[in-house]
Symmetry: C2
Subunit: 498 residues, 2 copies
């Protein structure tokens, strides 16, 4: 018992330091004055080293080994399982390397922001080269897998490999490509309402509208914040203090709305974690894929439906009284317009996974085939042209759009696709257990769904592995069937496909 | 040399942890959602314990002793001097006590905010009792001085005692009381312009106006932020990232303006510290008294003059076009109105030190004479009536107005008076070395004064003790003469006293 307490206390110290890293990272991306960049980079790097020092303390490793032999308690087992994996990994990375890497990431975030603002990849290139170089080094430090990129994929969703994703993406492609072709054909004969180009949607009105939606989803602003940042993100900083961000486009309120629904989905997961297990893996989200299932469920399965728009229409009209007199069905059509466009986070559900596949293929090229960083914009644009039929007019529309590479999060993107798959499975199970999701959405009272997600997913934290968790919640292992069925049915109706 | 590096590296680790405490404290008082209170209290308490652990590490004490014998370098000496004092103190306080104390402070801040909002001392009483009890315990842990309160006074301005302050305050009283009486008499025959009661000064316009003033003082918003909080404060969080706060009263733009000038004064000190010595005492402010000299210099010696208002008048008119057509002299008269009022931070320069003396006397009663916390509101209001002739109508106007006690900063207030004295000495020296401060103020170019302060005060950090620093900058040891002469001359003119 004393050993368990000692173990948990060490784990909590590490989680506290990571909480501080998260907080200072949130601050850096939302409100930090630019003069703070250098010292922010210093403190983040110092914190990374402090965490590393504690992760690699032989006594922690010793405690894990000793407790693993005795334990039968499920909470403890999950904490041991998760900590063991992280500790084993940390022991393979030298402290100086970890510190240097954190510093490089913190600097890269700033050069990426600048490059993105000025649509100039060359401003980011050397930072990115540095990160790729360091990531290659990191792969060498870690246990060898079938391919170098496998090591990265496993970091973000344990157990997933190039072989898995190659197969998965091929399966998706087989049904998505014909669906997209049918939709594009059907669109030719449809008139879809458009945002009037002269209209401005003020930041204030968008903020009020989106806060109302976020609250309706169940986000409690006494326990969190919404701010603006270049790239929307969510951070479960502290128990009782969950923050997410969005961005504003005065020409397009949908960009902000769906960012808010997406990030609120993430934030609700954080707010729903088990408070008794705070600052341990057991009280933390299990994986990126599962996290993304929560954001996508709210963004798409709830938010991109005409039932949602029946609820949100009066709020929309209140905040944007000058907008055309759209019906909820028209707003839904605008929100679900399928098109080949440049920006992943604004992509519709049908093309979204093509954006993911493109990034996956480029990352695979970088780490498995030695693609040079300087070649990325050219390769990106060429692949984009081949797959989508259009070419980004600048790097901000292309390879600079995502924050991930500036954080060296290579291997992260494919988890978004996993999230889409899980979200459809969850929707089907909710339909089965609680009755029609559409009816509940239309009622404007979404609390039952949130309670279900809290009980089946959020409160479970890291008790189960991702695939165990999905299976325990939905009754079947992860599959792409539910997602593809969902898309074909939804877009079949929307675009009257035969 | 290796030992010096080791010492500095340990000092920097402690300063980094304190930087994080400062950052999370800033966040708590400005933007934290209320649900974050419990976990914020947890992390601040944990950080306090982490700092304490490092301060009391025997190896640090050992390094200080060994280096003290060898060192002649001035930078190192000042670092050793300051660290030795803090380490010696920390070694006397048990870690569990320090942690508990930090937690109590963090909780008290929240109950104070609530009590202040609801003007109800009883909501704060038990938190304050707890802090007073713990402060008494702390006094017992530390070396015995002439009286218990002496221990606290020494914490905030090294070397200052009850005997020193009693004498100082008596000296001030002897000349301030007749000055105040003369002014109150003269006022009867004067008509002083007033803020029209129906006018509203919007937060947005006040923000723009105050930012302009802050920038004119030399604050660079690329290296800092201005936010809102219940009690204005300034925090030099990180090199390149200095943040201050203000508050808004839509009926009175002067409240915000002088808070901003005051806090900008503090912030300029932080921005002017020697960057090479960042994260060590040598690169940090030496004392609260000296810090306050910077804030008061800008707030009063510059800001409360008709020369300042000649510069600020066009900005004022631009932001508040509906205000009466005041001249700079009239604005200056409003800004320098002497009156017996309730709120310390809004008090004029003549009555300000009476507010300080009142708090000093109450703190002395608490720690040297056993005054009960529950009696504070009664004693406060009685003393206020005796000294100022008026009685606060509620606790927010009375003993709940300041944040200090909620942070257990007993012994802090008298340093404000020291700041006033130093500020007058600095003004006289600048007058002598750079030419008339009035003329420079009127020119609107205050950069020469800022450079002088940077060179003589800011960059020196903790190289010298407070009194050495004031003597080196002004040519004479700390004295109240310059301050009293300044007040008598300034208010003699303003109120045409004979």
């Amino acid at each position: 018992m004393a050993k368990e307490q000692l173990f948990i206390s060490r784990v909590k110290d590490i989680y506290r330091l990571n909480g501080i890293r998260g907080h200072l990272g949130w601050d850096q991306e939302t409100i930090m004055p630019k003069g703070g960049a250098e010292s922010r980079s210093d403190i983040l790097s110092w914190l990374a080293a402090e965490v590393h020092k504690r992760m690699t303390d032989p006594e922690l490793k010793q405690l894990i080994s000793e407790l693993a032999e005795s334990g039968t308690d499920q909470d403890l087992s999950s904490n041991l399982r998760e900590m063991k994996r992280e500790v084993d990994k940390a022991l393979l990375l030298p402290e100086s390397f970890v510190q240097e890497f954190a510093k490089a990431r913190s600097e890269a975030l700033l050069t990426w922001q600048k490059a993105r603002q000025e649509s100039d990849f060359s401003l980011f290139q050397s930072s990115l080269e540095n990160l790729v170089e360091m990531t290659r080094k990191k792969i060498e430090y870690l246990p060898k897998k079938d391919t170098p990129y496998d090591t990265l994929l496993d970091e973000y969703e344990v157990g997933m490999t190039v072989a898995d994703y190659d197969e998965l993406f091929e399966g998706l492609r087989v049904r998505l490509v014909p669906l997209l072709a049918k939709i594009m054909e059907a669109k030719k004969n449809m008139s879809i309402p458009k945002l009037p180009s002269e209209m401005e949607f003020s930041e204030q009105a968008q903020t009020r509208f989106c806060q109302k939606v976020s609250e309706a989803m169940g986000f409690d602003f006494d326990y969190g914040r919404m701010d603006a940042s270049t790239h929307p993100f969510s951070a479960g900083l502290w128990k009782g203090d969950t923050r997410f961000t969005t961005r504003f486009d005065e020409k397009d309120p949908f960009s902000c709305l769906y960012a808010v629904m997406h990030e609120t989905g993430h934030a609700l997961y954080e707010q729903g974690l088990h408070p008794e297990h705070s600052l341990t893996p057991r009280g933390s989200a299990i994986s990126l894929g599962v996290h993304e299932s929560q954001s996508r469920f709210w963004e798409n399965q709830i938010g991109r439906t005409s039932e949602f728009w029946e609820v949100a229409l009066p709020w929309f009209k209140e905040e944007f009284p000058d907008s055309p007199d759209w019906t909820s069905a028209e707003l839904n059509l605008i929100a679900n317009q399928v098109d080949t466009s440049f920006i992943r986070v604004e992509a519709d559900e049908v093309t979204y996974n093509l954006h993911i596949m493109l990034r996956y293929e480029i990352e695979k090229k970088i780490f498995n085939e030695g693609l040079k960083v300087s070649e990325i914009p050219k390769v990106w644009n060429q692949m984009f042209k081949d797959w989508f039929g259009i070419t980004p007019s600048n790097d901000t529309e292309g390879c600079l759009q995502d924050i991930h590479w500036s954080m060296s999060a290579f291997g992260y993107f494919p988890t978004y696709t996993l999230g889409n798959l899980y979200a459809s499975q969850l929707m089907n199970k909710i339909d089965e257990e609680l009755g029609s999701v559409s009816e509940m959405t239309k009622s404007g009272d979404w609390s039952k769904m949130l309670r279900w997600l809290k009980e089946k997913i959020h409160e479970k934290g890291s008790l189960l592995t991702p695939s165990e968790l999905i299976e325990s919640a939905t009754g079947k292992p992860p599959t792409s069937d539910d997602f593809l069925d969902y898309l074909e049915e939804k877009y079949g109706k929307l675009y009257s496909l035969s």
